[in-house]
Amino acid sequence: MKGYIEIDREYCKGCELCALFCPKGFIVVSDKLNANGYRVAACVKDGECSGCAICALVCPEVAIEVYRD
């Protein structure tokens, strides 16, 4: 993978925008709840991340850190 992301669950509000805008379909909304009761975003198992950082660009909560080669 060219990149990977870390989603801080406690900042996530389950708005689903990262999942909507990710060009690789690498992010989905999971069934896991955080302490505030939101269904948090998570990376797809066996998925591809290009490190484009569009998810971090749209994430209103600044919950995502992005790493790239």
Partner: protein
């Protein structure tokens, strides 16, 4: 691999109190990024409004001072005149800037005050529960226009960017939206230009930001972001409304 994106240092480590998908969160972040990139933390004073964004000071790690509703431009004027080396910006909603604060905003622009206004236009009064704003669209249902905004009785959506562009002291006015990755990038560029206009001392600058309010629009975040691109921009077209920054005598 190296980290290519992380929380800007001017953004405090706090979970935003804003609703999921709210535009304030995105705008706070890009302002914080610009404060970092343009080295403004030491000299900036931000003036948040009454409204959902009254708590901006819980997030932006700069000096901040609340203003009375609508008076941000006047407070910014007094501060900037008393301390011209301070970087002063207001952060105002559509009621704050375009209803109760119309006079103060127009006259601050008219005097060419070297301040920047960040104008969050979400076509509704958010904090108070979704009443009509000056920028509410024709036919839009809000809690004080339950049958939809009737232009003949309730007036038309007010286009503050266009109005302020007519004022001689205005130096830079752009309308953007935080509704998609490309629009967010453009929004950040616009705020950068507006901030630069203040640093260059050319006059009043404003960025009007079409911003989603999923809760009061009664939409999901994704629907709200889409509504801006599909519907709102037709009434409030995006783009540079005025750019006098290259001109010598900008009022």
């Amino acid at each position: 691999m190296k980290k290519i994106y992380a929380r800007p240092s001017s953004l405090k480590k706090a979970v935003f109190h804003y609703c999921p998908g709210c535009g304030h969160s995105v705008v706070h972040r890009i302002i914080a990024e610009l404060i970092d990139e343009m080295n403004l933390r030491d000299v900036a004073v931000g003036i948040p409004p009454p409204g959902c964004a009254v708590f901006t000071y819980n997030y932006l790690d700069i000096d901040m001072a609340e203003s009375a509703h609508g008076r941000g431009a006047a407070v910014a004027t007094g501060l900037k005149r008393a301390s011209p080396e301070t970087f002063v910006f207001t952060y105002q909603g559509d009621g704050d800037l375009a209803a109760i604060g119309t006079a103060e905003t127009i006259h601050a622009a008219n005097r060419g005050e070297n301040i920047t206004a960040i104008f969050i236009n979400n076509a509704v009064y958010g904090m108070t529960g979704g009443q009509m704003a000056p920028t509410t669209l024709s036919g839009q249902k809000t809690t004080t226009t339950p049958l939809g905004r009737d232009d003949r009785l309730e007036g038309y959506p007010l286009k503050m960017s266009e109005i302020l562009a007519l004022v001689r002291g205005s130096a830079y006015i752009e309308r953007v939206a935080v509704s998609s990755p490309s629009n967010i990038k453009k929004a950040k560029k616009a705020i950068h230009k507006a901030f630069q206009a203040q640093l260059d001392g050319v006059g009043f600058s404003m960025v009007e930001i079409l911003s989603p309010c999923p809760t009061n629009w009664k939409m999901s975040p994704a629907e709200a972001w889409k509504w801006i691109d599909d519907v709102m921009v037709k009434e409030f077209p995006l783009g540079v409304i005025l750019d006098r920054t290259g001109v010598e005598d900008a009022g």
